[in-house]
Chain length 322, copies 2
Amino acid sequence: MSGENILALSGGVGGAKLSWGLDNITAKNTLTIIANTGDDFIHHGLYISPDSDTLIYTLAGVNDPERGWGRADETWHTHSTLGQFGIENWFQIGDKDLALHLYRNEQRKKGTSLTEITQHIAQKFGVNSRILPMSDDPVQTIIESDIGHLSFQEYFVKHQSKPCIRNISFNGSTEASISPELKTVIKDNGFKAIIVCPSNPYLSIDPILSIKEIKSFIESSSIPVVAVSPIVGGKALRGPTAKIMHEMDIPVSVMGIAEHYHPLIDGLVIDHKDKIMSSKMQSMGIAVQVTNTVMNCDSDKIQLAQDVVEFSQMISVKKDSL
Amino acid sequence: MSGENILALSGGVGGAKLSWGLDNITAKNTLTIIANTGDDFIHHGLYISPDSDTLIYTLAGVNDPERGWGRADETWHTHSTLGQFGIENWFQIGDKDLALHLYRNEQRKKGTSLTEITQHIAQKFGVNSRILPMSDDPVQTIIESDIGHLSFQEYFVKHQSKPCIRNISFNGSTEASISPELKTVIKDNGFKAIIVCPSNPYLSIDPILSIKEIKSFIESSSIPVVAVSPIVGGKALRGPTAKIMHEMDIPVSVMGIAEHYHPLIDGLVIDHKDKIMSSKMQSMGIAVQVTNTVMNCDSDKIQLAQDVVEFSQMISVKKDSL
């Protein structure tokens, strides 16, 4: 796949799995992943960037696949000591993970940008692909819920996704611009495909699309845009996607996903389980690829990545022939 | 000893040992320890206050007595991960220790003063005595050495006290004032004794005395001031005290210590090994107490604390009878 530059949009776990597959089948530096930073927050005074970190750990192969976040073979000594102090520690940071946050903290104090820091860290972990935060400017996902306004971490970790969601907004996104690095990549790279990973559309992908420059680049380019549905058989494989769709009166199905991303996407990759919905989506003008979208093992991730890239190439040929 | 308010000046290890003894023989909240903050520094963006931390850990009984700093039963996962990153990690922070630094970092970002934070931490550890930083203003011990100007940590940890010392200065001490808490304690407490712990006079006690308000309080008060010699038999029990004295052309003996603290102190506590120097010191107008000053076990610390307090009371009686 060398020479095929690919742009991916990703949140944490599910998105990171497909990103791993894409990283695996692409040549060094040809895959650029825009990471959601709407979940970023300050904890114990340290800047935490959960989705970038999950992407780095996953692509470096040091992630904990069971837990879905953080590092494998992790220990929790600092965390439990904070607990003994009686200090609020609902957000768990492992001892190894902490090293990354300390490094980022030190670099931030020196005035290094989030994008530069993310690049440095990815390099230190030997990551082959480019992981770029959606913006160096602060954008915060705010969940308006039945118990009040919550940041993503408060909603997802502290309250374990239990509050009922009424609305989601992205504080700061109107003023936020993309980093010089992302600007250059977008300008120079000649992407062959834009892939929307199977992350939570509302909490992981929408924050990325809330950045004007990213959205308008995708809208205005002729590059095929392909999303992978995070909903399989009417359920989310992980996380609160289905729950959110239900609370926001969106049909919990691949159709709900198709309608959400329409007209931004050219194609949607869905699971065999949802094959029956293909024609309905095609009638909306969305090309459909039916395959196995459940990534249980590495070969699943690689296969899905290949399917997605091939699908986008087919769409590209079609677009060109129009 | 209840009702006997005591003020102690202390650095790390040796000072913390005697402080533990003093804490052990005094009633709750009657011992106030002024901690040296000239060694404080920023590491990975976290504010580290080594002497305050050693005092807290020691008085809480969670210190590592072998190592002389940090906590007992410590682990080093974050530290070794930083090393794997290729990040400068000459200053070792244990995983449990890190919890304290994260808490301080969080509090500092909220604008809480160093003194307030130190009090909170000491409280959380159940410390009975008052540990107060010498100032909330930044004062940095600078070592002018044969390899250039070094901060204390660079000298002591990074270069393992090897550089040759030419001069020592305390950046910021002229402008620094004492905290409102220390002001109140000094004003209200009616101390029966001021004890200069057996810490390094040049690197641990002098920074404290470089704060005008502390020095002039000690100079102007009629409270007996008693120091415990950190030099025993011409040697320092730990750390670079003897080496520094040698490099600065100061006789490496209790006489060197007596001359350094003269005329601030009324009495000096020395070890049996140095008994022979007593009369020479007495001729300088310094009262001398000869006892065992080597603190190998808890009973040594308690015994020395008792000896020091009794000695100061004897001096007090003498002063009153003048």
